[in-house]
């Protein structure tokens, strides 16, 4: 009766949700095919949809509201980029240096990776080979970041200079 095709129903949560109250189990319900309502993947769909709606609904509602109330009067002053009262000058679309990513990489390597390596170190003898391989893939992906930071010369101990002055 329960959809066990994906083997996910062994998870306790799914089991609790999908088991009907005993009194509701009539002969009819046994005869029926497993209904789609209890498909385990359905929950992912429901959560994805509600997450999307949480973001989109306010936007849609305010869009409808401005159309209904007719108060939307966009013009060049209202839509200008700068919002401190002064006139916007120069180009609005300029390339910005994205230097922060390098701190992101270093944070991942030296903070997040260490955080994961400690529990791995304590249990890796008992892990199956597949798990070891996938862990190593994760570690090597982060090692790549370390190599990148190294190549950029960020591991040198020196007074702070902007990364733009440091590279090359």
């Amino acid at each position: 009766m329960l959809p066990n095709r994906l083997g996910l129903c062994d998870l306790p949560l799914i089991k609790i949700i999908s088991l009907k109250h005993p009194q509701e189990r009539t002969l009819e319900s046994f005869k029926r095919k497993p209904s789609m309502a209890y498909h385990p993947l359905l929950f992912i769909g429901v959560f994805t949809l509600s997450a999307l709606m949480m973001g989109l609904l306010p936007v849609i509602l305010s869009y409808l509201w401005t159309h209904w109330s007719g108060t939307a009067r966009p013009d060049s002053v209202k839509g200008s980029v700068y919002e401190c009262g002064l006139e916007t000058h120069d180009q609005k679309w300029i390339p910005l240096k994205s230097e922060y990513y390098i701190f992101g990489i270093i944070f991942l390597v030296f903070d997040v990776e260490i955080l994961f390596l400690l529990p791995i170190a304590s249990v890796y003898r008992d892990l199956p080979h597949g798990a070891i391989v996938s862990l190593l893939i994760f570690v090597f992906l982060l090692m790549e970041g370390l190599a990148w930071a190294w190549a950029k010369g960020l591991l040198k101990w020196q007074f702070f200079k902007p990364a733009s002055a440091r590279s090359n």
């Binding site: 108060t71 009067r73 013009d75 002053v77 209202k78 919002e83 009262g85 006139e87």
Partner: protein, 202 residues
Amino acid sequence: MDEGLKSELQKAGIFTTTLSGLYNWGRKNSLWPLQFGLACCAIEMIATSMARYDLARFGAEVFRPSPRQADLMIVAGTVTKKMAPQVVRLYRQMPSPKYVIAMGACAISGGPFKQGYNVLKGIDRFIPVDVHIPGCPPRPEALLHSIMTLQRKIAEDSLAKNREKEEQDRLTSELPIPVHGAQDLEPAQNHKIWKAPAARKA
């Protein structure tokens, strides 16, 4: 609905309201002022938002750093001619419906600097003002009173579209931003929203 019937029902525990009443009730109790101060009145405005006077009681404590999120402009202080175009531009960038409180003698008339060459003689020459507060500077209580006055004004707004309202909306969204001319701001005032007071003979 008839007021008498309304209060009769209220006694029986039935509260009635209209859609626009509910809408305005929400609007008037969640005014978001624009966070900008021009002179000493701004200090009183800041004091009003703090714990002693507690502007939060009126739902108007969320001072927004961006005009895009604000619906109330408190012109708190002396508007110099250098500053006037910026004030008008900020007003233009606020979404409708928007309200203006002119706080203090300077904002409503130029105040003690009225004779000065560099001070705008009242912000209502360029933007429509809903509530004027006299005082130099007005006490926080006066600002609270102006907020309450504005709330009463908002409560009377109608949800229905009407020609007058749309015309007003169009007018305020197309207010010209003055530029600095050789002698004065050009234009020196917006005649569509401001009429020079008639000179009185002594």
